[in-house]
């Protein structure tokens, strides 16, 4: 806490210095504002504060600025944007440009993420990659560990107009990720953390052309990922071969892409478009488990015949062409064809051996997809329109023919989709639409694992390739009975039916109903409110030992919000209330196979979140205001993910019995109040 406060104070001082430097420059003709202030939360907010850099209770200073200046004679303009300088979520952007000629910007952006749990553990890091776990600690006797990750991204962009319709754009970004994520030991269901220290870079150069008829862009995009760690070794306190687990991490990889994208106006009402791109992604780092000197459980040391490099290479080709036309005033048509080939050219080699016989191979996957679609809109009288369209997709899926498979695969998939609808627009009072979609997906025969010891593996429909019929219906109504009062109603329903092999997802449905309303009482006061109901269901029929089980999963959400804006003389007032509630039900039919005596049935989960925000803003000078902010957060859950269920009552989840002992605490009731004040200075 002390570190954070010191850091934020330093940054606030830096921003104040920046403003003092830029201040004289912007004193004349500048637009925008600077605000300085602070506020405090009364309690920790592990869940609501996951991303906003204010997880812990306490005081947070802050500074925001948004300043622009433009010289109308030279056309030169510059801007400085600072947001949340006093918080972990700070971002700063400076830009300068002569519009239509040349410009550049540079930006810094930090995204923190605090793990919402408190972890009591004796895990510690030995050196750079060794995680050591003290076994068998009494729950609650370790040290508190609060996991956090931070992304620091720097972005630079520039453009230059070259004349004759050409413009060049350049962009470069680098993002450093730091911190640890919750993980597991892999070899046993025990606690571990995953270091994510890595750097992602992207660089892009694009040449654009904009002519009267032809417009387009061509360019290059390069990316790289560099991970600081390729391997984490976890050990119990006394290292032993049997307990030494070597966990691999993603390895350095990069990609290069060339692309072209454009459009051509054949006539004022007919336009053709095209896209093409070619990309190559590679990964050829030294495979970390091949490193000499590592300790493995007996018999698990990598075979000397196992490759030390993957030589991974994935080529992706995209070609697309489209046509849009309005042949008559009342008709618009669209057609588009697309070809995409993701070709994983990584050589297939054996990585696990039984003696000199390879038994496990690497698993490259390739997909070649053709898509064609056509849509039309026909306008009738009085603002009515009819819509229709069809789409066909055909995919070749390359399935590796070596090694062990655990699920059935299909080498081709086809899907037809048709859409139809009607729309009413251009009315001052009532507008709306009704659209319907139907699609049907099927494919070739299943290539099954055919493991004689696991016959059930041949019997399941993987959800992404099973036969599927989908129906969706969406209706909207916008009603404005008066200029000041309006309502919007939206209803959506979708139903998927899966078929084919006996096991797997059988049916999925989803519904959403929302009603929004807004009322402008007068020039000063306005009010809006909304209510939403959503529900999704999934029916599964899956294997269970020698029998089967049926699961009916359902999530129901009810939410509402309201907002008020107004003014009393010079005092501006506002408030927003939002409440979200979701209930997850896990109805598992256990008539096929009874539940183990070591387990209790899965229970429902209810999540509730309420946030009330209010502000009051009063001018203390012609160009300066004081703003008071109030926030109330309330989070409730009975999520059992990090609990277990002894007869005496629920307890926080603790890993292991004779090993580990790490306990994860999830605070199920959180509420906190924020009060803050800001001084806002406006450049006018």
């Amino acid at each position: 806490m002390r570190y954070r406060t010191n850091e934020t104070l330093r940054l606030t001082a830096l921003a104040a210095a920046l403003v003092s430097v830029y201040g004289p420059a912007v004193a004349e003709d500048a637009q925008g504002s600077v605000s300085v202030g602070g506020g405090a939360w009364t309690n920790d907010r592990h869940q609501p504060g996951m991303y906003d850099g204010m997880r812990d209770k306490g005081f947070y200073p802050n500074l925001d600025a948004d300043i622009q200046k433009r010289d109308d004679d030279s056309g030169l303009s510059w801007g400085l944007k600072i947001r949340n300088l006093g918080l972990q979520t700070r971002e700063i952007k400076g830009e300068v440009e002569r519009q239509g000629d040349i410009g550049a910007s540079i930006e810094y952006n930090r995204i923190p993420k605090d793990n919402p749990f408190t972890i009591d553990t004796r895990l510690f890091r030995d050196g750079t990659r060794e995680l050591v776990i003290t076994p068998s600690i009494a729950p609650g006797t370790g040290e508190d560990l609060e996991l956090k990750t931070v992304r620091d991204r720097y972005t630079a962009k520039a453009f230059k107009t070259l004349g004759a319709g050409f413009t060049a754009n350049f962009a470069f970004s680098t993002e450093n990720k730091d911190g640890n994520r919750q993980w597991g030991r892999g070899g046993a269901p025990e606690f571990a953390i995953e270091p994510i220290n890595s750097t992602t870079r992207q660089w892009e150069a694009i040449l654009n052309y904009a002519g009267e008829r032809l417009q387009g862009s061509a360019g290059y995009l390069g990316t790289s990922y560099q991970n600081s760690n390729g391997l984490v070794t976890t050990n119990l306190t006394t290292p032993s071969a049997a307990q030494s687990f070597n966990l691999t991490l993603p390895l350095d990889n990069k990609s290069h892409q060339f692309f072209v994208d454009g459009g051509y106006n054949f006539t004022p009402t007919t336009r053709g478009t095209f896209k093409a791109s070619y990309a190559r992604a590679t990964q050829n780092e030294f495979l970390p488990t091949a490193r000499p000197g590592l300790t493995f459980p007996s018999g698990n040391a990598p075979s000397p015949l196992s490759p030390t490099h993957l030589n991974g290479k994935v080529d992706t080709t995209l070609v697309e062409a489209g046509l849009n036309s309005r042949p008559i005033t009342d008709l618009t048509v669209n057609a588009n064809v697309r070809y995409r080939n993701l070709d994983d050219k990584t050589p297939i080699k054996g990585y696990v051996y039984s003696g000199s016989t390879p038994t496990v191979f690497n698993t490259p996957w390739s997909y070649k997809t053709w898509t064609g679609k056509a849509d039309a809109t026909y306008r009738l009288k009085d603002g009515f329109s009819l819509l229709g369209g069809a789409e066909y997709s055909s995919q070749d899926r390359w399935v590796p023919d070596k090694g062990v498979k655990y699920v059935p695969f299909r080498s081709d998939l086809d899907e037809w989709t048709v859409r139809a609808g009607a729309r009413k627009s251009m009315s001052e009072t009532v507008n709306g639409s009704l659209t319907y979609l139907h699609s049907k997906r099927d494919g070739g025969h299943y290539k099954t694992p055919n493991d004689p010891t696991e016959p059930a593996e041949n019997l399941i429909n993987p959800l992404n390739i099973s036969d599927r019929k989908r129906n969706k219906l969406r209706g909207t109504v916008d009603w404005s009975p008066t200029d000041k009062l309006s309502f919007q109603f939206i209803a959506e329903g979708a139903k998927d039916k899966y078929s084919g092999l006996p096991y797997g997802l059988e049916k999925g449905t989803g519904h959403v109903f929302t009603l929004d309303g807004s009322y402008q009482l007068n020039q000063d006061w306005s009010f809006n409110a909304w209510v939403s109901f959503d529900q999704t269901k999934a029916d599964e029929h899956t294997q269970n030992g020698a029998g089967f089980k049926d699961n009916n999963l359902k999530e129901t959400g009810t939410s509402f919000g309201a907002g008020l804006r107004g003014a009393v003389d010079k005092l501006k007032l506002g408030a927003d209330l939002e409440r979200f509630r979701s209930v997850n039900k896990y109805d598992q039919d256990l008539t096929g196979t009874a539940l183990s005596s070591a387990l209790v049935p899965v229970q429902d989960i209810t999540n509730k979140f309420l946030r009330l925000k209010a502000f009051a803003q009063y001018p203390i000078q012609k160009n300066a205001d004081l703003r008071f902010n109030f926030i109330y957060d309330k989070w409730r859950t009975d999520d059992w993910s990090w609990m277990y269920f002894p007869a005496g009552g629920t307890q926080s989840f603790t890993y292991g019995t004779g090993t580990d002992g790490t306990t994860v605490f999830a605070d199920q009731k959180q509420h906190s109040v924020f009060g803050g004040v800001r001084y806002i200075y406006r450049f006018e």
């Binding site: 597991g184 269901p189 075979s303 996957w365 053709w370 387990l599 609990m643």
Partner: protein, 315 residues
């Protein structure tokens, strides 16, 4: 299906597309060419002071950039009509045939043409006409505020509320406990979606995975052991807008995993909550990280450890 058959089907689709007639003459109804000598914004400011003042502070009001409305006919560039007549007759709604982009009685497509005359040349809007939003008759001014330098939809903190005008389901999803930092303005809708484009699902790149890899590049591999759905579409397991399950999963392990995996032993077991501390994988498939308690590298693994089960993402 053979490649040739697919090619034949798709060639047919292409022929249908190519067979669509195009012709001229479906221009903007009621729109008139800008007059050679039209009153400038300073004249309009006589009655529309607030609008003109804010217009001059926008990029449209830039006096040096030759492409802007300021240098292409002033207010009449977008409010096309007989501005001289509008002025000479003392103004008034619709006098001189002036167009208001807020009008509900002009079709969105016609209003959009006013913007596309210039903005279709922008690389991110080349494919607007074949985008899902254009097909839904979405107007540029349905989302954009023209007369302000602070367009809400171009500020990532306020942008989602503009999108939620139509996308109600996402308004709820981004408030679920497992989510992207959209509420905090660190990720915005347009980071993933090009609402002016025609990529599938309106993504900024040609596939969902390419978009996800922008920030989650560690997931793209290629790995020694690739998990097939990961290489195909992140959306098979994840709902990027928000869910009630950790890591934006659409469904909770083991239910999600059992939609693809059937086998004897613990992978197909009943879901249940342990009544005591345990190390049994049969009892730890539901709580904590569920199946991922052991299958820790579910996106892919680079382990060459010599185990017959090396392809199960445990190392």
């Amino acid at each position: 299906m053979s490649f040739h058959l697919q090619a034949g089907r798709n060639a047919a689709i292409l022929l249908v597309a190519a067979g669509i007639l195009w012709s001229g003459g479906a221009g903007l109804p009621g729109a008139q060419q800008a007059q050679a000598q039209v009153p400038g914004p300073e004249v309009c400011a006589g009655c529309h002071e607030t609008q003109v003042k804010s217009f001059l502070g926008t990029k449209h009001g830039n006096k040096v950039d030759a492409r802007t409305p300021m240098n292409q006919g002033g207010c009449n560039t977008c409010h096309k009509g007989d501005l001289a007549k509008h002025v000479s007759e003392g103004g008034g709604k619709g006098v001189g045939g002036m167009i208001s982009l807020a009008s509900k009685t002009i079709s969105q497509q016609d209003k959009n043409q006013l913007c596309l005359g210039c903005h279709q040349k922008d690389p991110t809007r080349l494919n607007w006409l074949s985008s899902a939003h254009a097909n839904q008759d979405t107007g540029c001014t349905s989302c954009h505020q023209i007369h302000t330098a602070h367009d809400k939809v171009r500020d990532k903190l306020t942008q989602p509320n503009v999108c939620f005008t139509c996308h109600k389901e996402q308004r709820v999803q981004i408030n679920k406990p497992s989510r992207h930092p959209i509420l905090e303005g660190k990720v915005s809708c347009s980071d993933c979606h090009n609402v002016h484009g025609n990529n599938p699902k309106q993504m900024v790149k040609t596939t969902v995975n390419e978009v996800c890899y922008t920030c989650h590049m560690e997931k793209r591999g290629p790995f020694v052991h690739n998990h097939q759905p990961v290489t195909e579409d992140c959306g098979i397991c994840h709902q990027a807008h928000g869910t009630t399950i950790a890591n934006l999963l659409k469904s909770r392990p083991p239910f999600l995993c059992q939609d693809c995996h059937a086998t004897s032993g613990h992978p197909s077991q009943n879901a249940g909550l342990p009544n005591q501390r345990t190390t049994s994988t049969s009892n730890l498939g539901t709580i904590a990280r569920g199946c991922l308690n052991c299958h820790i590298n579910i996106h892919g693994s680079n382990s060459t450890e010599n185990k017959a089960t090396a392809g199960r993402f445990r190392r």
